[in-house]
Each structure stands twice: as C-alpha cells, then as structure tokens.
C-alpha cells in the first residue's frame, strides 16, 4: 500500500469527522455531538474539515499516477469507505461516552437517527435492543 494511502486515510477520516459534526449539529442530533452546543459543534466540524483538506493538500495537488504510488479508483473507494466508516465509529463511541447520562426508566427511543436527538448512540441502541428482546419474548409466549 503506497504511503499516499495513509495520508488519504487521515484526510478522509478528519474530513468525515467534520462533516458528521456539521450535519448532526444542523439536524439537532445532540447524541452525536462532541461538544454541548450546536454552534460550537458546527464550528468544530468546519475546523476538522479544514484540517483534513490542509493536511492532505498542503504539500501540493498530489498529481501522482497510480503506476508511481498514486491511488487508482478502486483503492480510493476502498480507503474512503474504511476512513469514513472509522470516523463514524469513532464518533458513535466517543459521543456515547461524552454524552452518557441515566435514561428515564420508561424511555422508548424513536426509530432511526431521530433517537439520537435525546440520547447517545450506545445507550439508545442498548435500550432499543432490550425492548426488542422483551417484545420478542412476549410474542413467543403468546
């Protein structure tokens, strides 16, 4: 794997972290934010996005043919998927720790990303799976 792939991974990872923060702040998904305020989270997102682009393009426009260490389209798509996926996983895990708080006993998460307006990811997923498990046991008994 060429050295450029490492730089590309860091670039996409940082930029994806930034985009997720901006998008989550816009959508009001507080459970996905690193910081408390939506405005400060959006600003952090812009900063991460700028840092990613600066990191990658500061040395120049990277005009390298794939026969001499550049990345062909398939490798680019693969590294992009890995980096963006890692950024999403990192966000889900870190925000689950940063935003963790006791949930009300009868809290029922809404479906989809909407649920992350009220609670962080791992708590929401845990509660959803617990409710689903309880529901499926009741269904089996009847």
């Amino acid at each position: 794997m060429p050295a450029l792939a490492g730089d590309y991974f860091v670039f996409v990872f940082l930029a994806s972290l930034g985009v997720v923060q901006i998008a989550a702040a816009y959508a009001g998904l507080r459970g996905l934010l690193f910081l408390r305020g939506r405005c400060s989270s959006a600003l952090l997102g812009v900063g991460l996005l700028a840092l990613g682009f600066t990191w990658f393009f500061a040395p120049g426009p990277r005009l390298i043919p794939d026969t001499q260490g550049g990345l062909n389209g398939n490798v680019q798509a693969l590294v992009f998927t890995l980096a963006a996926g890692s950024a999403l996983l990192f966000t889900l895990l870190v925000t689950s720790v940063v935003n963790a708080r006791p949930l009300p006993p009868h809290f029922t998460p809404s479906e989809g990303l909407e649920a992350l307006r009220e609670a962080p990811y791992l708590q929401t997923l845990g509660r959803s799976l617990a409710l689903w498990w309880r529901g499926s046991k009741t269904w089996t008994r009847t």
Partner: protein, 197 residues
C-alpha cells in the same frame, strides 16, 4: 460530422490550454481542481452529510435514497467507461497536439472521461432530490472536467461524453431503484433499527 466535432474539439482545447502558463496561480488552481482527490472526496463528503443532515424523517429517507442512487450512478458510470475503453481508443490530446501538460500523462484512453463520469454520476444523483446541493455538486463536477481540459489531458467532448454517460446511467439506476422497491426501503428500515439511518 465526426471530423467537424474533432476539429471543434481541437480548436477548443488549444484555445483553453493556450491560457496555461500565463498566470501561475490559475495553473496551480487548475492542478488542484484536476487532481484525482479534491473533487471526488468533496462530492463523497456531500453524500455523507446528506445521509445525516435532513431534519424530518421523510426528507431523510428521500435523501438517503439519493445517496444510494448517487453511489450506484458513479459506480455504474465508472464501469461503463471501463467497458467502453475496451472498444474505443482515442489518444490523449498531448499525444496529438503540442499542449502545455499540467498533469501527469495518463495511459488510458481519452474518451469518455472517467473523472466526468464519476463526478457527474454523484452530482446528478444528488440533483434529482436536492436542487441547491445538486447545483453545487454539478458545479464541482463541471470544474473537475474543465480543469482536466485546461491541464491538457482531455478534449471537451471527452468530458461531455462522460457527463452524458453518467446522466444516462444514473437515471437508469434511479429507475432500477424504483423498480426494486420495497428492497431499498427495507434496507433503510434495517439501518433505522440500528439507528444508523
């Protein structure tokens, strides 16, 4: 007819590339825009944002389907270029004319432009659902294509061919996704259960 198009193509690339070397900052900007990384990553990041940003559930589902359509459109267009390259060989402009090459010399055929196919595939998929972001994405894809002509690696008709191919393939993918219902909706439903969509 083919000869006339080729003459027009040659005239346009020689005129556009003729500006290269006059202003170093314009050349540098064109090199950044023409690079294999700046525009495609920007377009892919727009898709990532579209997955998360819509505030209402119905809008989010519509945009998430647009993301699927864009990805299939870009992938399908790139595959179509690969297949066409087996049957069509058009030499790059720097092989025929004395152009000022501001890019590395690619070894694959000139027509159709793979960069334009991928860029317009993603952009057109977005534009079918979100006009303002679609306009931004189409502008980015157009700049990518224009920069490839300015830097001397494509004829204008390569970019136009790539764009038309992408628009056709992405429209077909949109139709295929509609015909494949309820599969795409079930896929999104599964992701929603895991709070990922």
């Amino acid at each position: 007819m083919v000869e006339r198009v080729q003459n027009l193509d040659a005239h346009l690339i020689l005129w556009l590339n003729g500006w290269a070397g006059r202003w170093p900052w314009v050349d540098r900007l064109a090199q950044y825009l023409a690079s294999d990384y700046l525009v495609p990553v920007s377009l892919a990041l727009i898709l990532l944002g579209l997955w998360i940003a819509p505030r209402e559930r119905a809008s989010r589902e519509r945009h998430q389907k647009a993301v699927l359509r864009s990805l299939l459109g870009a992938g399908g267009s790139s595959l179509a270029v690969l297949i066409l390259n087996q049957y069509l060989y058009r030499p790059r402009p720097f092989h025929i004319y004395e152009v000022r090459l501001l890019f590395y010399p690619p070894t694959d055929p000139s027509f159709p432009s793979n960069a334009a196919a991928v860029g317009f595939g993603m952009a057109f998929g977005i534009a079918l659902t979100n006009r303002p972001l679609g306009a931004l994405a189409l502008a980015l894809a157009s700049l990518w294509g224009l920069a490839r002509v300015y830097t001397g690696v494509h004829y204008p008709s390569d970019v136009l061919g790539g764009a038309l191919l992408a628009i056709t393939i992405t429209s077909l993918m949109a139709l295929a996704l509609r015909l494949a219902e309820p599969l795409p909706s079930l896929l999104l439903r599964a992701a929603r259960i895991l709070h990922l969509a």
